[in-house]
Symmetry: C2
Subunit: 367 residues, 2 copies
Amino acid sequence: MSSARKCLTFDGSFRMHRAGHLQSPTLAYETWGELNAARDNAILLFGGLSPSAHAASSEGDMAPGWWEDMIGSGLPIDTDNYFVICVNSLGSCFGSTGPASINPETGKSYRLAFPVLALEDVADTALIVVEHLGIDCLHTVIGCSMGGMSGLAFCVRHPDAVKRFISISSAARAMPFSIAVRSLQREMIRSDPKWRKGKYKQGDPPMTGQRLARKLGMITYRSAEEWAQRFGRERSTDHARIEDLFVAEFSVESYLENRANNFSGAFDPNCYLYLSHASDLFDLAEYGGSLDAGFRKLQLEQALVMGVRTDILFPLDQQRELADGISAVCSDTRLAELNCIRGHDSFLVDMDAFRPVICEFFESCCN
Amino acid sequence: MSSARKCLTFDGSFRMHRAGHLQSPTLAYETWGELNAARDNAILLFGGLSPSAHAASSEGDMAPGWWEDMIGSGLPIDTDNYFVICVNSLGSCFGSTGPASINPETGKSYRLAFPVLALEDVADTALIVVEHLGIDCLHTVIGCSMGGMSGLAFCVRHPDAVKRFISISSAARAMPFSIAVRSLQREMIRSDPKWRKGKYKQGDPPMTGQRLARKLGMITYRSAEEWAQRFGRERSTDHARIEDLFVAEFSVESYLENRANNFSGAFDPNCYLYLSHASDLFDLAEYGGSLDAGFRKLQLEQALVMGVRTDILFPLDQQRELADGISAVCSDTRLAELNCIRGHDSFLVDMDAFRPVICEFFESCCN
């Protein structure tokens, strides 16, 4: 563990949104920049399903973070001006309490005894970190992908604690195409005999199921258009072994294999199941009985909704739905529909498209 | 086996397009209508990956076929006027020789000893059936999905044997998004321990892998738009069992489960692998070094290319590529871009959109 990662362990019991509780959960987080005297320059960042709190490098951890080009001195999220906080989501496995953690009440790993996770729990535990840092009201909440839904949960549940919201390639709720994809990913992991109903052996996780799930993930995170340009029908230079009659012939297959192998060992499979399921469950319409009612609970001064034309997981019509809904209660709401070809993942890889829009947002705050 | 299904077993050895041979292969086929005296009213139909030759009911087999509403007396493919032939693709498992068949040279099932299958083999064996029926030149070749590529292979390899071509939701070659999807489906089956490198036990096939592959199939055969309208965030009425913490909560999940279970027992997994792989391999550009060169080998009098706006597996840009390419050598080429919401499968389920276009095609032939 790097010195950049800080941990906050709560006293007492945390009551989960759907049912159950966690005893003394821990939240891992990192921060960049300095909180000003007025304590009004804090930005809270919610990441997607898989990343840790290490969004950017710092003196305590020089390794590049998952949004390295976005956060730092002179960058769009400028740490010369803002105090940036990124929390590893509750339920994840990078320092925060999740299914892979020890349950202090039993002394054993939670595994499937972990209560049903909701993105509301991710939002509410992040608020405890924010309050611990002495911040009453955040300048901005930013959420990417699943984190956009966590951020929306934060804004609707704690409207006094946030002034501005940036949603990036996210949605007000999951629709059935995305639910079907995530449900199938979960089934791939659960179908791997090594999963053993969540009791997989240490050092022998359900790698096959995780690899399959990650490949399906990559198919939905990128776009057909990008791959047509990038790979076409190019053949792989890794010559397939003779027994692999049906695979790794085309470059796109080798690409998926490499990406899946890099990921599968690094993420706890039970944590993945809980976070994926939480993404399906979230629905802003639960706040008042309709999306409109949910949006009306927001008290934002300014909002920005960003999305990408080629995103099939969080498509543009969901970006428009978000922007329309927020603008009903926040006149300073902007929708940025980006013409990136790299699909859902564009916010991680197509910085040239995202940077100027986020820069402009923060410049407009200063006026 | 119904009396509608006919079988033709070839004499001698059939040389496969990529490598290897088959000894005395059998092709199963059905026909509807009557061949006229001039023998110029025959239509050859190539189906997708999964169907049998039973495209429509007949006296010999009253069960509805997979294109029941399209083929028959007074229907768009009118058996009062045309003699319609549908062949079960070589490599499949509904009467034609495939990996599940006995190799007469060894007395054992081929399984993975079956040679690499190409859609060229599907096309060339269909021609043998056509010739056996006494037909020198087909009025029209029709191909749906994978069958559209088999049909294109037929037209480019045997230009004297066909006058007209209808391609339905198909392409001139597979692009990397579709290759990635099919490669992952194959990996799901191959990853199931019960597959046993193709030597699965009779009565104990890799059902888990097949079920996963079918679910991914359904996700790509339908559309996000259809499912948003049809299911929204509706919950399943099948109450999930307690151990199924992560599945079958939403209606779309129950739908996929039902569809996958209906399919998985009915199709041989090795046949699936071969046919899926053949779909990836086909490339019209192999005929002369470029797509343009391939198209120039066609000698069609009339062509129709149909596709659907919401199809992500064979998207509209590939329909335009096909229509543009064919029209360079066949001035009477029409492109029909249909505004169906049911994705790739629309040709099977949205008959009201497809019927009038196909009717119009055959009416224009009579003029």
